[in-house]
Symmetry: D2
Subunit: 389 residues, 4 copies
């Protein structure tokens, strides 16, 4: 089947969604993100694995009845067959379903926007990678949404431009507190599947949020990690997967790093932070205050750079909607990924590549993330042995 | 003409826009806000006073050609006549046009969402007030958007519940720096009309942003201001309207307050802040960090309340989309006003009132704001004489 | 009687103290400050008005029995008569005693370091001023200690050097919360005399802390205030003096300012803050984070200047003891005043003037403070009438 | 020789100092700390290894000529022989001299206050430990000064009282930036000896500041570290000792930790920070804002506890001099160690033990620190092998 995009398409991108039905957090987030810049229109969905919930969820979103599907296979087929079928699909299921769903839509020539981590395991991830290598006409984006924040883009551009000199140290952290107690056994849906290896994969906290921090550390530093040493822990009794991860990293240029991810750190809501230090200066960014970026050139006064403000660079301004001091937040950062994908899809309609500054995370980030999870689990099982990435 | 809403309407609210064409800041903001929660659909517009710009702006937004209007009068008539005509209009023109435009649409039975300040002067404001008194079937909302932030709602609810005791002191401030130099003479469109009394009204900074701070001080404290003493200044040479305002306030319960608004305060981007103190505790909120609210009960440790986090109240949670630590920003706060208006419009379709917790700013806030501007100008002209509100 | 200093003196300065006995807060602070840089030695005291407390307080401080005095008159005489008598005295009594005590020691040729505000009323203040005009050999310092913080010195130097351009707006505030309830009636000694006009003078909060903010606004801006409009309030039932003060200010260069002082603002411990804005940039400093100074040049990234760090100027470095990142606090700032006075005393021993950068507050600051209190009280009594300073 | 303290002593403690001459940073700090609470009097010193500098340094401090010594051996002997000889000595030399000097004074029955780290190597450390086991009459204190901050004491007390539940995660970090370039080769004295293994020992940054973070992690958590995995680096060309250290830790109760110490992290002045998380809550403290302690009980609003403020505990209040909002800083924290040692010395005069809440760091902390350095170096040399402590 040929790709569903082509020069016959125009206007807003027709979008489908798999997963994300009632009670889902991330499904709603994807819909906000798709809507933000008015480039997508949600028209179809297989929103839950349970048929009744799939129906009620689709109805609640105002989908046309014939485009509310009970399963993703029939959805892929039916949508591919429609002249007005979806051009892209958002996959927001638990981790184990990401790849099977993606494969079905890729096969149908439909672009994919997939939540992270990429897959249940590396085997799945590699299958998808192969398929995408065959289907270069299909766009695949992974929503490592934090890389969509404008000041993260600026940080990356500053590092690339050498403003920090040679990078020496990269510190990432991502503490949360919502799994401090065993909420997975008290019926909290979000917690349930994340605590289940059959649905979440081999990584708990390291997969759910550690991969975000890792992706950001690589994305901003532009460095290639070489090996890591990990110490994973499950502090809550009865929990199988890790809820706290300590990781030391070595990069190919000789830089070193640390990564701490935790879901049992009371007081932290969504404390993703990245700090990067080179021979000439440092940068610090915290997700909970995303419009700010600290730049500390060695030997000069510390500078607070603000989204849209003095000192904001072109890399940040590209993704900036409103003036400085008017905070943009998580949904706007997430939407930046969607908008970059939209730019790619629209370019693809004319068989072109998008503006080269479009840098949404893709299969490579997904493979890297799976490799990170796998290495962490292996290193930790080997008592912290340094493990190649 | 009867109101355009009624039980025949369903689905998303069809929205028109007057003003907000290319180069407008606030027009785009209104569109983001309308789109956020998927309750509106922009279908018509008279987006600029200049016909060519009105056309190109409408085209850029993907409006149907026949619903791109050159002026608001023909738009009000034509839309009112269409079976699928707009149910609501957003007015995002310079201040002097707010009332004439609003009157045309109200007359046509179309709900109005209007930017602030309400009017060019009190005379205009009173005319509109009278018209609305006649047309109780039409909903009128004024986008004092900052009152839409969840933690502002929580602050208001806490004060109302007596958690601060008797309110004694209310400190508001709104410093910016974008008019530090005479940008209005360098072709900056936003600055031009704001610096022109014929389009902005008698207040410069006091009207543009002082009214926001004032509205918030009243909204959160629940107090009725009684009189004020103002000292307005124009620091930039050649500027006619004030660019800095110092105001002292007295409230009817004996509380006192201060308000500082400035557009010549280098380092401030959009520094709206409110602090309120009672016999039992204090609250502090800053717009640039809107997900946080400091609560300082007297004699107890200071508490940082976070949107979506522990300590967040029902009043905040009603307007919360995503979990704590995932920052919501300016657009989300603005969108809360649109969503509350949507709730009111949908209720109105069935001739009902919305949930009583829907508290978007309305004509009363508009009149209060105009009264504030007028009193500031008068007091300042009278060398700070205490002037009734 | 000639001055007690002269070229026969050497080594550490022998210091006496009046007031500051057991239970005093500020007496202990003065002793810490005098000790900090090892330039003073406390050898005599009339530490309390009550003889028994004077004795026990002196003993507790290890004073020689013959140098523990029951009253300041005999202390001034006896110390002046001793060959090893004190060279300077610290006055830390309630306000109404500052001038009588100072007069006795000045008459005896002993240098005076006096707590603020200067006097009970302007009459007292003017008498002291006259006496000092006659006794130019005696050094008189007023402990407006906040002007001793290094980053305040830097702020002042930056303004003087024109780094902010023409000053337009000066915002000062000093909120505290310790008088939120009527602690003066629950036996709190500090509160008792401050609430009593016979001992505190005509200003409550405006005299106790408002004068500090005012002194700092003038010290940093280098501007001369011309007139003010004040609205004083006493929120706690039964309190005679003001516990909250709102003041608008006009300076002789056309700049405008606001000052808020409050002792009924729950959540504020010692929230002195100064912000100053000119045509080219802004500065912000908060007493509770005294090692930091924000400098916001218009159109450039915001800069955080740190004591001892990159960007710290000579004016700050003169008063810096330890490296950046090792916080200096309130006692160190206070001690800077003592050390500057020591430099003046040591210079005076050789009939010289100290280094011209020594800028401790003196009688002029004291007169200015009394004038400020008087103008605030008068303006407020006149319903906020603009009152000359 | 018997101990120099006994019931014949009274009044302020006579103090000597070894090292700390002109150009020393830490010598001056010890003198400030000793002076702060007026419990010590500096009367003797061997302030530099160079005789001329020893003389000029002693003179500058106003020491009596006969008590300015050229070397510590003669100083220990001479002071022990004087009836008014020193009761305690402060050792502020480079690391390799700590133990030899301490041994001489301990042998002479003189109490020792020694800078950290304890020794050049573990061999030296063990020798000192043995000597102290014999001379139980001599007090030995190690100036891990950061444990003297009031809010650190409160944190420790809160953990001990179970307010955090079972401790799970302990995160320590101590970034600085002053060795970002090779300042040791540009004549910076502080940097020179710290970069020289013969004087600093086997640890660079890990010894100089890593030990501080480590001591604090243990002090606050009350946990016993079991093993660690370290990755040390020297980023600056030509530097022999580490300038960046990444360490993972395991504690005997199953808790895990991370420690990052760096002297090549541009933007960090003295960024010591400790965060600790248990099953019931978290704590966070930053040295650069030492009067604040964040307490985040799980499921409750975050609380900011302030020194001297509401929520400050007895453990903090014991070491608090001035009210909340009046910041105490580094020197005050350091002085708390001196004052606790003074309490012990004064108790020892009467052959008593001090108040059991006196908890200054001692030989045990010193041994632990040396063990930490040794384990870090060994683990890092073994490619991060988990190494017992």
């Amino acid at each position: 089947m040929t790709v569903r995009t082509g020069n016959k398409r125009s206007g807003r991108i027709k979008l489908g969604m798999v997963g994300g039905g009632e009670g889902s957090f991330i499904g709603a987030v994807h819909r906000f993100a798709a809507r933000m810049d008015d480039q997508y229109e949600l028209v179809a969905g297989a929103l839950a694995s349970d048929a009744a919930r799939a129906q009620s969820s689709g109805k609640a979103l105002g989908l046309a009845p014939e485009r509310i599907y009970d399963n993703f296979v029939s959805m892929a087929q039916a949508e591919a067959a429609r002249p007005d079928g979806i051009e892209a699909v958002a996959i927001v299921t638990p981790n184990h379903m990401h790849v099977p769903v993606a494969q079905a839509f890729i096969e149908a020539g439909i672009h994919v926007i997939c939540d992270k981590p990429l897959a249940l395991d590396m085997k799945q991830a590699r299958q998808l990678e192969k398929q995408l290598a065959r289907r270069k006409d299909v766009i695949f984006a992974l929503t490592h949404n934090y890389s969509g924040y404008p000041m993260i883009r600026q940080a990356r551009a500053m590092v690339a431009a050498g403003e920090l000199g040679d990078i020496r140290v990269v510190q990432g952290e991502y503490p949360q507190d919502w799994l401090t107690t065993d909420v997975e056994r008290s019926g909290q849906k979000q917690a349930q599947w994340r605590a289940d290896p059959a649905r979440a994969g081999a990584g708990g906290c390291i997969g759910d949020i550690g991969t975000h921090a890792y992706q950001l550390m690589c994305f901003v530093s532009g460095l290639q990690p070489k090996e890591l040493s990990a110490d994973l822990a499950s502090f809550v009794k009865g929990r199988v997967l890790d809820d706290n991860a300590h990781v030391m990293l070595r990069f190919d240029n000789g830089a070193k790093g640390m990564l701490w991810a935790s879901q049992v750190a009371p007081g932290h809501e969504n404390g993703l932070q990245i700090r990067i230090y080179g021979s000439k200066g440092g940068l610090q960014w915290r997700q909970e205050e995303p419009n700010h970026l600290w730049f500390t050139p060695y030997g000069e006064p510390k500078r607070l750079l603000t989204r849209g403000g003095a000192g904001a660079s072109a890399a940040a301004n590209r993704l900036t909607r409103i003036p400085s001091g008017h905070p943009e937040g998580y949904l706007e950062g997430f939407a930046n990924i969607y908008s970059e994908v939209a730019a790619a899809i629209i370019a693809a309609r004319k068989h072109r590549r998008p503006d080269r500054q479009v840098t949404f995370p893709s299969i490579a980030d997904g493979i890297a993330g799976m490799s990170f999870i796998q290495a962490c689990v292996k290193s930790s099982a080997g008592n912290g042995r340094w493990t190649k990435l």
